[in-house]
Every structure is written in structure tokens, then in C-alpha cells.
Amino acid sequence: MHVELVTQLIINGLLLGGVFALAALGLNVIFGVTRIVNLAHGQIVILTALTCAVIFQRFGITPIEALPGALIGGAILGTLIDRFLLRRLPEHAQTRETTSLLITFGVSYFLIGLSLAIFSGDFRSVAYLTDSWHIGGIDFPKAQILSFAIAIVIAGILAIVLRSTKVGRALRAASQNLDGARACGIDIGRMRTLSFALGCAIAAASGALLSMIYAYNPDTGSQFTLISFSVVVLGGLGSYAGAIVGAGLLGLAVSFVGFYGNTHLGSMMPYVVFILVLLFRPSGILGKPATT
């Protein structure tokens, strides 16, 4: 009985971690290359989730079937945000990071307003894959298992693309040394657009998957930005493996503290961990200390 319970808590924690990791990946991709913290991240997740809920209820298209569409939609949105807003930022100015925060903060409120106008304030959710596989006395909830698997696949593809392809190497070069990359003939502007499009596409994909797990309305987006940000800081900004490990640890903390302590303490865990990491290991679990 006790072994079963602890195993269940571990499974629950890891799967919650999978949800966190999925939500955080998009944020991390963008930060890795552009050094921009996309504060509109959670709103992109929610906008996609709401869209998925509506097309599921109207046309019976499941979020899994909608996944390719979500990726493309997210990429287009990311391209637009970069081309029309972020590209106008001065290249080397000291204020670039602050200004980009303000811009993405503004975009987040624009997206909340847009979502409210399209979808109203109603809470929505997708009633699909809401049950579990029951194996050996342990429950494996389907939607969470799927999200977890897809988070790993996306992280794996990202790692391979960034390491072994020409575009990936160019993206990494741009993130590590702007002037050096430019000297090698890399089009920095294009790399930034590409990373923003990629990050927003992944955020949208996570929205499609989370649409089956939570109930949400246009105002719940900032929760996802906050949790994602905690995960990314914990794992190390820009480190994909770190984000997944970090998310797993957070999920376990929420699950165990929530069970043996109470849910208030459990819900505090992402932010407690966030502060602890900033104090004692600012570069994150697997992140490298900044070199510049």
C-alpha cells in the first residue's frame, strides 16, 4: 500500500513536471538565442488552448490532430511579433533587454484583450483523453503521459537540430557571440526571427496539449508564464536538458509537499525553488555561468 502510494506520488510529480517542462520549453528557446524573456509566453499558450477547445467542440477536431496547425500558427505569430516589434529595438543599446521586456509585457496584454474579444471570459477545457491507464495499482493519466512524451520529443529534436544542423549551429553562434557570429556571415536578424518563431510555435504546441489538462480563460495565461519562468531559471536559462530536469524536480516537490504537507505549501514550491536557485545557484542546475 505504502510503496504503491509513494510510486503514485512520484508518477504524479514527474507527469506534472512534464506539463511544466512543456510549458517552459518555448520560453527557453527564445531566451537562448535572443536573450529576451517573452512575457507574452503564457498568453500564447492560453490563446492556443482556447482555440483548441473551440474547434474540438465545434468540429470534433482533437488537440492532437490540431497540433500541426498550432505549431504553424504559433510560428506565424512569433514571426509577426519579431518583425513588427522586436526588430525595431536598437542592436547594442544597454536598454535593449529592459525595452524588450516592456514590449513583450505589452504584447501579453494585447493577447489577453484579443482572447477576451474572441472567446469571452468563459472558462473552457477539452474533454478528451481525460482518463487513465491503470497498471499494477498505479494510475497513468493519458493526457499527462502524452504531454510528457511530447515534451521529451520536442526537447530531443531541438537538441539535435541545435547541435548537428547548420541552422542550429548558426542559432547557437548568435546566442553566444553576436559580433563573432556576424563576422562569420550569419544573418543575426534572421536567426532572431527564427528563434522567436520556433519558441512561439512550441508555446502553441504546449497550449494544445495543456488544453486537455486544465480549465482556462484568457486571464489564466500569466500563471503559465510564471511557472515556465521558474522552471527555466531552475534548469538554467537556455539549457534544455536543465529545464526538463528542473521541471521534473518542481513537479515532484509540488506532489510530495502537497501530499505530506498541504496544497498551499505545494503551490508555493515553484517560487520557493525559484528564490533558492537565484540565491545559491544563479546559473541553474545545468546552466553555465555567464561568460560575457
Binding site: Q57, F123, T130, D131, D139, I213, D219, Q223, T263, S267
Partner: protein
């Protein structure tokens, strides 16, 4: 020298202009044909936005109907609404603004217990009577306030039916959970006593924070306590979160009750087949044979294209009470309106309004509904029942 006197002249002109503006504004509010302005805040964004919308539409429908029939005291009504973003502090600032800057003639209550608890004192501070149709919590009425009136059934009435049903079917144990905010807390405090009186035992009792991201931990604990009844005092997103987590953890209570989340008409659409058999509290039904109820439900549907929920009905009923008070006072005299609200019975779409000496509602009843085949049907009390209760609750396949 010259420059100084010129700037003095400008300053004089400016102050004169400002003075003229004030006089103009004053003479405008004094005109008899000017509308009666009723101020309120409603959660149009934030966590309560979905229910807040119904609440506001209840006010709007009444105002439109009264205006079509000549208004109050021969004056048209006008709603002055701010969005409090589901935030008590924001609402407080906005009510102060409504009274001090906008000089509204009357105020009515906001959405949710938490927000009303924060703004209740403003009514007394400015001696403006406030009927608050969305405050089920009892705490604001323990403060000796004279100008706040409850326009909804008190919070413990919400779970009365759930406990009576459990007693009727011989269930023994209850797992109690809910959101840790004013309204759910107020009910949670009353449950153990009510359960004991009905011969039931609360075997689990823990609340979770607003905007929780995980319900699996609390559901694991509920599973360990193996209850006959799961009673959650929850809003929409947490009701969905709990129902999913219960299903995934294979927890099968005989009775599953959420206070208000499932009262939203779109609940079955978002939750699907798992809504079948879910019980919830409802303060109003279109089927209630209260005065003018059928006409209200029809007019609401015609005006907004959706069926009203109980929030819409309560807010409409609050305006009915205010209208009756003004008709009796024959003026906008705050104290006369207050005295009427404190002492009179008024027949509304929600039943007969009546409050005790603390302003707490004693007239309205709370109903218990069940989702059956995608419909919300009253199952308790039997006086209003539209359908027979389906029991035990089971996960529909």
C-alpha cells in the same frame, strides 16, 4: 513684472474656467430629467469573469426594462460599471471613485463574496445602502454594518441539500475540500456541524489555494480517506481540475457535489460525459414558480442570446428590491431606502426577499441541481424538484 502679471491673469482665467466647470457639473446633477446613475463594479476580467458577465447582464436587463417603462421617479436609469478585474482592492478604489468623483446616486453590490467583503464598509462609510446579490459569505454581516444587505441565500444553505441527500441515502463519510477564499471558507466552516447533525462524519478537510496548478495531491489524500461523498466548494476551473484528477486516480464516491462551478451552463460542454450525475448548488431555476420568473428568463434569452444562470437572476432580483424601496421612499433618500430594505419583504424572481437585523438573507432558498444528460435539473428540495436523483454517482463511460 509684465510676465508675472500675465501669468497671474492666466491663472485667474484658469481658475474661473474650472469654477464654471464645477458649477456646470453641479447644475447638471441637479436637473430632474437627468438619469439616476447606479454605480457598481463587476469582474469582467480575472478569475470571476465568466460568472461576472451573467451578474452584470442581470443588472442590465432590469435597467433596460425599467427604462422602457419610464424609469424610476420619472427619470431614466443609467448603470455606471467598472471592471474590478476580480480583485478586492481594485473594487474598493473603484467604489470610492464612483461615490466621490462620479457622484452616482445609488450603488449596488459587486460580484463575489471576497470582493463584497472588501467593499461592504464603503456602504456604511458613505451611508449609501447597498444590496449585494453575490455575497453568500456571512462574515460581512458580522461587522455591525447598517447599509449592506444580502441578496442571495446564505452560504451554508448551498450545501444543505447535498448533506440532506447523503443522509437520505444512508452515506456515512464526507471528504470536504474547496478554494481557500472568503466564500468557500465561509461554507467549509459550517459543513462539519451540519454533517454531524445529519449523522455524517467529515473524514477529510483541506482547502487549496486560488489558481492552484495541481489537484492530484489533494485528490490522493481524498482517495486515502475513502469517502462516500466528495463535497468541493469550488468555482469553475477548480471543479474541472478536481473532476479530472478524481477520474484519473479512479476515485469513485457515491455522491459528488461541487458548490457553484457546475452551475455555469457551459459546464457539461467543457467537461463532457463526466458531468453526468454531478450535483451542485443553485439559487435559482427558470422553472421556479416565483413572481415574474418565466417572463424574466424569456426576456434574458431574448436580450443576450443565452439562458440566464442564478447569478443573473440574483442581480435582477436585487434591482427589483431597490426598485421597490425607491417606489416606497418616493425619492432617492438613502436612509428611507435603507430602512425599507431592512424591514420589508419583496417578491422577486428568486423568491421572497427578507433580511434579519444584520442584513443577512432569510427569505431565499438554495436548490440542489444535478447534471443529467447534459441538462441542469433541480433534484432537491422535492417541492421544486424537476427530476429524480441519479445515484450513486459513477464515471459515465
Amino acid at each position: 513684472m509684465k510676465a508675472a502679471s500675465r501669468s497671474k491673469g492666466i491663472a485667474f482665467l484658469l481658475s474661473a474656467a474650472i469654477l464654471v466647470c464645477f458649477i456646470g457639473a453641479n447644475s447638471r446633477t441637479a436637473g430632474a430629467a437627468d438619469p439616476i446613475v447606479i454605480g457598481t463594479t463587476v469582474s469582467q476580467s480575472g478569475a470571476y469573469a465568466d460568472v461576472g458577465k451573467y451578474a452584470l447582464q442581470g443588472y442590465q436587463l432590469y435597467v433596460n426594462q425599467v427604462n422602457a417603462h419610464g424609469g424610476w421617479l420619472g427619470r431614466q436609469l443609467q448603470l455606471k460599471v467598472y471592471d474590478d478585474a476580480s480583485d478586492p482592492a481594485t473594487s474598493v478604489t473603484e467604489y470610492q471613485k464612483l461615490v466621490q468623483q462620479d457622484h452616482v446616486n445609488l450603488i449596488v453590490g459587486p460580484y463575489s463574496s471576497a470582493i463584497t467583503a472588501a467593499v461592504a464598509n464603503i456602504a456604511d462609510q458613505y451611508k449609501m445602502p447597498m444590496i449585494s446579490p453575490e455575497v453568500a459569505a456571512v462574515a460581512p454581516f458580522k461587522r455591525n454594518l447598517k447599509y449592506i444587505f444580502q441578496g442571495t441565500a446564505t452560504s451554508d444553505r448551498y450545501v444543505y441539500g447535498a448533506i440532506q441527500i447523503a443522509k437520505q441515502y444512508g452515506y456515512k463519510t464526507i471528504a470536504l475540500t474547496g478554494e481557500d477564499t472568503a466564500f468557500p471558507r465561509s461554507i467549509a466552516a459550517a459543513v462539519p456541524g451540519m454533517a454531524e447533525a445529519a449523522g455524517l462524519k467529515v473524514v477529510f478537510n483541506e482547502l487549496y489555494p486560488h489558481n492552484a496548478s495541481d489537484y492530484t495531491a489533494i485528490v490522493q489524500k481524498i482517495k486515502q480517506s475513502n469517502p462516500d461523498v466528495v463535497l468541493a466548494i469550488s468555482y469553475f476551473p477548480d471543479s474541472v481540475g478536481i473532476i479530472r484528477a478524481l477520474k484519473q486516480a479512479n476515485v469513485t464516491p457515491k455522491e459528488l457535489f461541487f458548490t457553484i462551478g457546475p452551475a455555469e451552463p457551459n459546464f457539461a460542454k467543457e467537461v463532457g460525459a463526466d458531468s453526468q450525475g454531478v450535483l451542485f448548488a443553485n439559487n435559482w431555476s427558470p422553472e421556479l414558480k416565483t413572481e415574474g420568473n418565466a417572463a424574466f428568463a424569456k426576456a434574458f434569452k431574448a436580450a443576450f442570446g443565452v439562458d440566464p444562470d442564478y447569478h443573473a437572476a440574483q442581480n435582477y432580483a436585487a434591482m427589483q428590491v431597490l426598485g421597490a424601496a425607491i417606489a416606497s421612499a418616493k425619492s432617492l433618500d438613502n436612509d428611507k431606502i435603507r430602512d425599507y430594505m431592512a424591514t420589508h419583504e419583496v417578491d422577486t424572481v428568486c423568491g421572497t426577499y427578507h433580511v434579519d437585523s444584520t442584513g443577512m438573507q432569510t427569505g431565499y432558498d438554495s436548490l440542489t441541481d444535478q447534471w443529467q444528460g447534459g441538462k441542469q435539473l433541480v433534484v432537491y428540495p422535492s417541492k421544486w424538484a424537476q427530476a429524480k436523483l441519479i445515484t450513486p454517482y459513477s464515471w459515465a463511460k
